[in-house]
């Protein structure tokens, strides 16, 4: 049994009196596609925050490829190969698309301290940016200000920012939220075609997208893990149907 890409052991997060994440344990194998589903307020995003380092868990252990990252700062986890997208678009609206990608590339390099060379003239940054942008279907927009991109295009950019450094572990928080059905299809196809060198954890509300992409599904309810299994198993499970579909 090889080292899991991600391992959570009894992870709990309390916000004052509120228990957002309750004693969650799970393991994701390298290259796996794991989808996390659950009704609103189930603690999915809080769990992601614990994994990516936005918040520290109240107790429990988080390991990434065998390394304990429980108490590492967010930036340090990124340096270790964790990439993340956010549910609410968090791209830099007052910068150009190229500048957004440049920041993502520079974030893990010492070059982020460079004070002499102009970013706009860094050909390797531009080339890599164009390559990644083409991959998600955002061509010809390199020097456009992000604020003039459509919401769908911003979600595509959001994905690029997470992918550009070839993360080992990719966390996608509802990547298709707010998109039209056509955009949703396009983005899920892109996600599905990502190489298996990237282990993927995804929060998704749309059952069809989730089940089409998932190797395994983890169901959260009220901060705790309810069930884990293959997409089919989860879909058929009566408790899940009650908790999840009952809420729709």
């Amino acid at each position: 049994m090889s080292t899991p890409a991600l391992s959570l052991r009894a992870v709990t997060k309390n916000f004052g009196g509120l228990r957002a994440v309750s004693d969650v344990s799970l393991e994701v194998a390298p290259g796996e596609r794991r989808v996390i589903i659950g009704p609103n307020g189930a603690g999915k995003t809080s769990l992601f925050h614990c994994i990516s380092g936005v918040i520290q868990p109240s107790s429990g252990v988080i390991e990434c490829f065998g390394e304990d990252i429980t108490h590492l700062a967010e930036a340090q986890r990124t340096l270790k190969g964790v990439g993340r997208t956010f549910q609410i678009s968090s791209v830099f609206v007052d910068l150009t698309v190229l500048e957004n990608v440049a920041l993502a590339m520079l974030g893990i390099q010492g070059a982020k301290w460079g004070m002499w060379s102009s970013v706009a003239r860094m050909q390797h940054v531009r080339d890599k940016a164009e390559e990644e942008l083409t991959r998600v279907g955002l061509t010809g927009k390199t020097d456009v200000m992000v604020k003039s991109l459509s919401y769908g295009e911003r979600r595509q950019l959001e994905l690029v920012l997470a992918l550009v450094n070839s993360p080992r572990l990719l966390l996608l928080d509802e990547p298709c939220a707010g998109l039209s059905p056509a955009e949703r299809q396009r983005l899920s196809a892109i996600i599905r075609d990502l190489p298996r060198t990237i282990t993927m954890l995804m929060i998704e509300h749309d059952m069809d997208v989730a089940l089409a992409l998932a190797d395994r599904v983890t169901v959260l309810n009220r901060g705790a893990m309810m069930l884990e299994g293959s997409a089919q198993e989860v879909r058929m499970n009566p408790q899940v149907r009650e908790v999840y579909f009952g809420q729709v």
């Binding site: 990516s52 380092g53 936005v54 700062a73 967010e74 930036a75 990124t78 340096l79 993340r84 956010f86 968090s90 791209v91 830099f92 609206v93 007052d94 910068l95 150009t96 500048e99 440049a102 920041l103 993502a104 520079l106 974030g107 893990i108 070059a111 982020k112 301290w113 460079g114 004070m115 002499w116 060379s117 102009s118 970013v119 706009a120 020097d143 456009v144 200000m145 003039s148 920012l161």
Partner: protein, 314 residues
């Protein structure tokens, strides 16, 4: 930088070089003042226009370097060659201390820097034994390096112009670099920067120290222009104006702070020749900028010059 900008800059430089040949001492001195305060405004704008931090203590570095150079030369007979670096060092060291303010953001940052600026003013005003209190330090000699001495206003003007040009070249590279981009990233989305692997605090602290260095250089030039320094140099008024000049001229741009300095100083000199309400005019200008021209003069010029339909291009 595109063609139009380059041509404009060359023209401006040409004009600047020719100024002493065309105008009298009054204008030369005024222009020197504009260049010096422009540099002070530029230093504050590195933080404001790029990192989004509104600092009200940059005149403190300006004043500390001015005072240090003045005290060393006047009271201890230290030569200019040593007093100048000492002054710049003193201001920058203060910057490394005050730089701790980057632990705060937004309004709190404004208030911390306000307090810090006030402390320096208080020291200048109250610690009479060191700073000469109200009267400050007078009789500062003309700037000299060994046998080379600045003897007239035009010479000093060219010296200051040279320093400003060098600073601008370095500044331009700094803000177009990865470091500069990182600052703008922090300004526009700090949480995201953390998830990308940046440590915003480290970048902001470095920017703060760099800006204090720039303000200190301006301070040394200032004390040689005026030949004296007093607590007014570190007043709240000066601290506020450093930032205001940048905003009025165009925050986040290269020349905006200098244009702003020119406007504010020019207004002050021009208006006070015929009536005493120059602060009223200044206040109205600030109000007008907020309401009608948030991008300052540079923003206005850009708006006027860009053809409609090119929205979305940076």
């Amino acid at each position: 930088m595109n063609q139009t900008n380059r041509i404009a800059l060359v023209l401006l430089l040409g004009l600047a070089l020719l100024l002493p040949q065309m105008a009298g001492t009054y204008w030369v001195t005024l222009s020197t003042q504009m260049l010096i305060f422009g540099m002070l405004a530029l230093s504050a704008d590195l933080l404001l226009g790029h990192a989004g931090l509104f600092s009200l203590c940059h005149a403190a570095f300006f004043a500390v370097s001015a005072y240090t150079t003045a005290i060393l030369q006047v009271r201890y007979g230290v030569s200019g060659a040593a007093a100048v670096p000492a002054g710049i060092l003193a201001g920058t060291l203060l910057g490394t201390l005050f730089g701790l303010s980057v632990r705060t953001r937004g309004v709190y940052f404004i208030l911390v820097t306000l307090a810090m600026g006030y402390i320096i003013w208080g020291v200048g005003y109250r610690w009479t034994a060191l700073t000469g209190g109200d009267s400050g330090i007078t009789n500062v000699p003309a700037p000299a390096l060994g046998d080379l001495k600045v003897t007239n206003a035009s010479q000093f003007y060219y010296l200051v112009l040279a320093v400003v040009v060098i600073v601008l070249i370095v500044y331009q590279r700094l803000v177009s670099s990865a470091f500069g981009l990182a600052l703008r990233g922090i300004k526009t989305g700090e949480p995201r920067m953390r998830s990308l692997g940046f440590q915003p605090g480290a970048h902001l602290y470095t920017a703060f120290v760099i800006s204090s260095f720039m303000a200190s250089v301006a301070g040394v030039l200032y004390v040689y222009l005026n030949r004296f320094v007093n607590p007014v140099t570190a007043s709240l008024h000066n601290n506020v104006e450093a930032v205001l000049m940048a905003i009025v001229g165009g925050s986040g741009t290269l020349l905006g702070p200098f244009i702003g300095a020119g406007l504010v100083l020019g207004l002050r000199n021009w208006v006070s020749t015929f009536f005493e309400l120059h602060l009223v005019v200044m206040g109205l200008v600030f109000i007008a900028v907020v309401i009608w021209a948030p991008g300052g003069v540079v923003g206005l010029v850009r708006r006027l010059m860009s053809p409609a339909g090119k929205e979305g291009q940076s």
